[in-house]
Amino acid sequence: MTKPSNTTGFKKLLPGLILVALFFLAAVLSYLWTPYEVDSIDIKNRMALPNMQHWFGTDHFGRDIFSMLMVGARTSIAVAFIAVGIGVIVGVPLGLCAAAWQGRWLDELIMRSNDLIFAFPALLIAIMITAVFGPGAVNAIIAIGIFNIPVFARLTRSGAMALWAREYILAARVAGKNTVQISVEHILPNILNLLIVQATIQFSLGILAEAALSYVGLGAQPPVPSWGRMLADSQTLISIAPHLALFPGLVIVLTVLGLNLLGDGLRDWMDPQLRRQRS
């Protein structure tokens, strides 16, 4: 097995970091400044091609696409970030418990519930929720969040189980620490790397899921700008103004690519042994 050198890690880490930083920066900057107001309609200038005034052109209402993409980044970040947060906050403690009492009824219950959630692809959860409560960004967050829970629970459990067999855990036990203390003080810090890498990957999946949900009308509702809905709006106009569809799509691709590169790079950098475990 050839060892990955540190340079291969950086080869991914650096472009990933730059892309992700740009994307976060655009979202933050959009609170202070955008080239145009996102709701300023200019019918005379509608569907303009990219030019000096409107860098990415304008949409069918004459709104500036670049500005809309900047504001749309906020929606994407917020939805994906909170959804990953739900996965971590619920999934990690569940995984720790399952590993601490492995083979007992609690472990069995947690793992079986995980299997159950895996039977519902994220999209199905979203459809179920929106069928009842109506579409919206919050419901999209909940749907993607629920889907993230078993991902983190499983990862935490398998990471923690490997650690429970270690001698320093036994030493902590002898020192009088109880199961909860050991889980929090010794297990959790040692699986943090794993969790951070997975969180980056889930973040990118969350962005894709949010775009897909908004595209079919189950995500953020107007007037909140969102990349997925910009694509949905552009679909009927694609033969006359393909640039309306081009830019939001490219932005999604670059963001997801950046997050994936960042995740891969972080993993290589933090722990070469983890390489290639991701499927």
């Binding site: 692809p121 459809i127 009842v132 897909a212 679909q235 694609i238 569809a245 799509g249 999604i252 499927s279």
Partner: protein
């Protein structure tokens, strides 16, 4: 093996029962009274009662659940609230588009991923390998519905090779049907092919380091023969899991892609039903998709245990 099979079958049934309870609870108990949704706020109490009677809504939730489930088992999915036609018929019409689409996409994904994965593993570190790995990175990052829109733009609008959407119906000839499913299938297949190629490559690379592969080379097999006869077979286990998982992703993903191409499949049916609050249709489609996911997982697990006895004791 029989014991393992029965255990898995038991947990399969348990999963289906719990899943059906979840779906029923969320879609039937939480939203309240479909009758008043259908008739609006000005309906008189008598009309409401009559409709509830007709739809079986005046029964208690447990009884309604039992009648729904026994209906599903016997193929009677109930009657659509909006169209007053049997749900089973509506679903089976749509399934004839969604299912072939998912299978078509899976085949495309396998046809692309296998050569890509095997060659990049065999020529690890070469320009070809780097190229394929870069392409798959991109393939994973591209939202499939956007890729679908780009395909429509180039191959339907610019080049006129395919129609931009719609479905002629299988009675217009199988080839015509397949042609109109080709762009959607390619769009669906792209991210899955990228994932599959990566899994196949890394699984093969693991196997290529095994001692028995060196033995195979030592006894005189060429590298190519060794890979085809020994490595590929052993590398198939994770690949099979992913293929199983992908089938369910493809079936769910079809829901979105159908919207791009205006295909009258399950996805369109679901969104229409949500808009019309025809929850009984949503319920049955969801249950059907969950059933498909669980069955495929089950089939893959059992196939493994049959191929590889080591898997029987292990939980997945």
């Amino acid at each position: 093996m029989l014991r393992y099979f029965l255990l898995r079958l038991g947990s399969l049934i348990a999963t289906l029962v719990v899943a059906s309870l979840v779906i029923f609870f969320v879609l039937e108990v939480v939203p309240g009274d479909p009758a008043s949704y259908m008739l609006g706020i000005n309906a008189s109490e008598e009309t409401l009662q009559a409709l509830r009677q007709e739809l079986g809504l005046n029964l208690s939730p447990p009884l309604r659940y039992l009648s729904w489930i026994s209906g599903l088992v016997t193929g009677d999915f109930g009657t659509s609230y909006t169209y007053r036609t049997p749900v089973a018929g509506m679903i089976s019409d749509r399934l004839w588009i969604s299912l072939p689409l998912a299978i078509y996409a899976l085949l495309i994904s396998i046809v692309i991923a296998f050569p890509a994965g095997v060659f990049s593993a065999a020529r690890r570190g070469s320009g070809f390998d780097t190229g394929i790995m870069g392409a798959t990175q991109l393939g994973i990052a591209i939202p499939n519905f956007w890729f679908a829109m780009m395909l429509v733009f180039f191959f339907a609008i610019k080049l006129h090779w395919f129609s931009a959407g719609g479905f002629p119906g299988w009675d217009q000839g199988v080839l015509n049907g397949l042609k109109s499913l080709t762009l959607p299938a390619i769009a669906l297949a792209l991210p899955q092919a990228s994932i599959l190629a990566r899994v196949l490559r890394s699984s093969l690379l693991d196997v290529l380091n095994e001692d028995y592969l060196r033995t195979a080379r030592a006894k005189g097999l060429t590298r190519k023969q060794a890979i085809i006869r020994h490595a590929l077979r052993n590398a198939m286990i994770p690949v099979l899991t992913i293929i199983g998982l992908q089938f369910s992703f493809l079936l769910a993903g079809a829901i979105i892609i159908e919207n791009v191409f205006f295909l009258p499949g399950l996805g369109r049916l679901v969104f229409q039903s949500i808009a019309q609050r025809d929850l009984i249709v949503v319920e049955s489609v969801l249950m059907l998709l969950v059933f498909a996911v669980v069955m495929v997982t089950f089939a893959v697990d059992v196939m493994y245990a049959w191929v590889d006895p080591r898997m029987r004791g292990r939980r997945k």
